[in-house]
């Protein structure tokens, strides 16, 4: 187990190193100059130059890379060009939206997917199964941003149950914060739940056809008992994989939904930073996202080991 963990850690670090170079290069070749952008079209060349100097944009590329990475390893993300504040703070702000949103959506999708998947698998071929399969089929096919638009039309503009967007913030308490995250979370959760439910179903069906299920039945366990005591835990492994993937997706991939609902999340931060050529923010955020994804995958691998003793000693 230790060995396994260590090996994963090493490859993890290498991955991060490579990622940092890729990201930096990619971002550096984006055309457009932050200083010029900030000062607008009436700015005079010398003014722009002054600002560039102030931002350290006049330094050679490799120096900026080293400065950036050097900062990263000490947990210092650098300072935003546009906003002139520590990027760590900016990201912190946004994480308070993105993280809860991702978790909210993930919890929703799990709460929907597990029962649905189990129901479909145990009642295979039944009406319930058909229904679940049909709905999930649809759920996978609906573009979440379109679904979001329709929800805004119905629940915000017509019924006025929710505000059409924006984030109430946590300082007024949990409730308003959650309320403003509800529609987005649903929009994000729907396709995820559909996928998860289908995976759950097929994983369960596979497990239920295993020999040890037959053994359990021969012991005198009822179908239900067999399901809960033997099938579920074995079916969990593929499900875990998907959940891991989904979490990392939700963290970074919510850009479009964050846009539709005008949420100040990480995705929109990076999007906006790209458009403003706030390059160092882009670099740092993307790096952070990559890091998050890699960490999550790592966690998932460890979770496997928790579920499946066969993986504990490798």
């Amino acid at each position: 187990m230790l060995r396994y963990t260590l090996r994963r850690l090493v490859s993890l670090i290498i991955a991060l190193a490579v990622a940092s170079v890729v990201i930096f290069v990619a971002v550096e070749i984006v055309p457009g100059d932050p200083a010029a952008y900030m000062l607008g079209i009436n700015a005079r060349p010398d003014t722009v130059a002054a600002l560039q100097a102030e931002l350290g944009l006049d330094l050679p590329v490799h120096e900026r890379y080293l400065a950036w990475v050097g900062g990263l390893v000490q947990g210092d993300f650098g300072t935003s060009y546009t906003y002139r504040t520590p990027i760590a703070d900016i990201i912190g702000e946004r994480l308070w939206v993105s993280l809860p949103l991702a978790l909210y959506a993930l919890i929703l999708s799990t709460l929907i997917a597990f029962p649905a998947g189990i129901l479909a698998a145990t009642r295979r071929g039944s009406v319930a199964d058909m229904l679940v399969m049909g709905i999930t089929q649809l759920g996978v096919a609906i573009p979440n941003f379109w679904f979001a638009m329709l929800m805004v039309l119905v629940f915000a503009i017509n019924l006025r149950w929710f505000s059409a967007g924006g984030f109430a913030g946590w300082e007024h308490g949990i409730a308003p914060g959650l309320k403003s995250l509800t529609l987005p979370a649903i929009a994000l959760a729907l396709p995820q739940a559909s996928i998860l439910a289908r995976v759950m179903r097929s994983a369960l069906l596979d497990t239920l056809s295993e020999d040890f299920i037959r053994t359990a039945r021969a012991k005198g366990l009822t179908r239900r008992q067999t399901l809960w005591r033997h099938a579920l835990r074995n079916a969990l492994i593929p499900v875990l994989t998907i959940i891991g993937l989904q979490f990392s997706f939700l963290l970074a991939g919510a850009i479009i939904i964050e846009n539709v609902f005008f949420l100040p999340g990480l995705g929109r931060l990076v999007f906006q930073a790209i458009s403003q050529r706030d390059l160092i923010v882009v670099e740092s955020v993307v790096m952070l996202l990559v890091f998050a994804v890699i960490i999550v995958n790592f966690a998932v691998d460890l979770a496997y080991a928790a579920v499946d003793p066969r993986l504990r000693r490798s």
Partner: protein, 532 residues
């Protein structure tokens, strides 16, 4: 007096008839052996007793346990019955246990299910006792063990423990030893016998191997394609088989093909001090890579026209050795000479050498690319010739090969899935044969086949050997097979060859203890039976 009586049991699955009018009995404290080849319906008969039939099953007739027809019980009652009155053991111990739960939990579960008021501690104590009974003492095999930490035999013991934990009246064993090595098999059989005797259980022993039950069953039931063709007390049955199928089965199990077996003494294959090491998982990231020695300084000769046997239990290294000889894996020491030339591993094996040897693998289903026609499959070895044969040459060669293994020339245009297991092995042999090699390596070539089919294939091999003056290296875990077809035999244990010699001599007067244990363990048909 009878514990289980099955009366006129019939079964259809999705409309296809599986069982027809099956009737048999198991006496309290008695052992009934149900014998049949694959597809004879023996297993489904067992499952009907457990009422664990696949979806779409429509059973008829009655299954009386202590005179109570369990076909009439509702699911709840059945659950109370399973594991309590009737228990079952399965063929594949590797998959019969839940990989993510400890053996302790799984055995204790049987108890807790049927006596919910039992405390966990009490249940675990009983689990420990039961495991002790089946030969898994707690000091070596704590309840916290996981299945993947145990060998096949040990797992099968766990399965048995789960089955007998509540001392059921009836125990059903479905091919409980088929997946095990002979020695393990013998131990498991003894264990079962013992348990039956102690608890006075009835045992329904299902197997394809007459020999396995011959010396333990009180009654024998022989099934063929869903019907009972013959049944009665074991002694009587083995004494005089009436039904032709039973006789055939009997004959086949003890079959010895006729062979001229004229071995020249010119060595064709020379193996000298061959060593094969596998790297094993490191303990630490930077720790030294440990090696596992699968083949340990093995040496032997194989003369032209000779049929040499190589027996050993799973994991003894015989397959590894085969791969080394075929030049598929590199060897770390010694040398292998074929017709005097050194065989070097990897792609660099010269085509001349490869032309001299071909191979037939165990699994008749996995050894063919399902997407190619038989013709193309059989002709694959022609790749070894620098000049590809003209299509007419190719066709005649193909036709000859197919006919020589008892198939028709026009089978060449069929796809592999159109053939039965036995036919596929014939095709495999044809493929090995088509370029007329001098040596054919048979890696468990008949192990997967039913006895009757096996007999035919053995005959075929013997015949071909004589006709084409082939040499065989015959690798198998099944002593009886090796005995019947080889001139000399080698016994392999954990990478080493512990004994070698004339087949008859090795079997009659084994020198090495291990060989002796092997032979002792191998189930044998009563001599008087073989005689008939």
């Amino acid at each position: 007096m009878t514990l289980l009586r099955i009366n006129g049991l019939g079964l259809e699955i999705h409309g296809t008839p599986i069982l027809r009018d099956v009737s048999l009995e198991v006496a309290r404290g008695g052992i009934t052996g149900v014998i049949g080849e694959s597809g004879s319906g023996k297993s489904l008969t067992a499952y009907s007793v457990m009422q664990l039939l696949p979806e779409g099953s429509a059973p008829r007739g009655e299954v009386l346990l202590d005179g109570r027809d369990i076909a009439l019980l509702d699911e709840a009652a059945l659950c109370r019955m399973r594991g309590n009155d009737v228990s079952m053991i399965f063929q594949e111990p590797m998959t019969a246990l839940n990989p993510v739960r400890t053996i302790g939990d799984q055995v204790a579960e049987t108890i807790l299910i049927h006596a919910p008021r039992t405390s966990r501690r009490a249940a675990r104590r009983r689990a420990a006792e039961t495991l002790e009974r089946v030969g898994l003492p707690g000091d070596q095999f704590p309840l916290s063990r996981y299945p993947h930490e145990m060998s096949g035999g040990q797992r099968q013991r766990v399965v048995i423990a789960m089955a007998i934990a509540l001392r059921p009246k009836l125990l059903i064993a479905d091919e409980p030893t088929t997946a095990l090595d002979v020695t393990t098999q013998a131990q498991i059989l003894d264990l079962l016998k013992g348990l039956v005797a102690e608890d006075g259980m009835g045992l329904m022993m299902i197997t394809h191997d007459l020999a396995v039950v011959s010396d333990m069953a009180d009654d024998i039931v022989i099934m063929k394609s869903g019907e009972v063709v013959e049944q009665g007390p074991a002694r009587q049955i083995f004494g005089a088989m009436t039904h032709p199928y039973s006789r055939a089965l009997m004959e086949a199990s003890g079959h010895v093909p006729e062979r001229a077996g004229a071995a020249a003494d010119a060595p064709l294959l020379e193996v000298r001090d061959v060593i094969r090491d596998y790297p094993m998982a490191r303990r630490h990231v930077l720790g030294p890579s440990r090696m596992f020695r699968a083949v340990d300084r093995v040496s032997f000769n194989l003369a032209k026209g000779e049929s040499l046997g190589l027996v050993g239990e799973s994991g003894c290294g015989k397959s590894t050795l085969t791969r080394a000889i075929l030049g598929l894996d590199p060897i770390q020491g010694g040398e292998i000479r074929l017709g005097g030339e050194v065989v070097t591993a990897g792609h660099s094996v010269s085509r001349e050498q490869r032309r001299k040897m071909q191979v037939v693998f165990q699994d008749p289903y996995g050894s063919f690319n399902p997407r190619h026609r038989v013709g193309r499959l059989v002709c694959e070895p022609f790749h070894l010739f620098d000049r590809q044969p003209r299509s007419d040459e190719r066709d005649t060669a193909l036709a000859n090969a197919l006919e020589s293994v008892g198939l028709k020339a026009d089978d060449a245009n069929k796809y592999i899935h159109e053939f039965s297991g036995g036919q596929r092995q014939r095709i495999a042999i044809a493929r090995a044969l088509i370029i007329r090699p001098e040596l054919i390596i048979l890696d468990e070539a008949v192990s997967a086949l039913d006895v009757s089919i096996r007999a035919q294939i053995l005959d075929l091999l013997a015949d071909l050997g004589d006709r084409f003056g082939l040499s065989y290296l015959f690798i198998s875990h099944d002593l009886s097979v090796v005995r019947s077809i080889t001139d000399r035999v080698m016994v392999m244990k954990s990478g080493r060859i512990v004994e070698a010699g004339e087949t008859a001599q090795v079997f009659d007067t084994p020198a090495h203890a291990y060989t002796r244990s092997l032979i002792a363990a191998a189930p044998r048909l009563p001599d008087h039976a073989a005689a008939t």
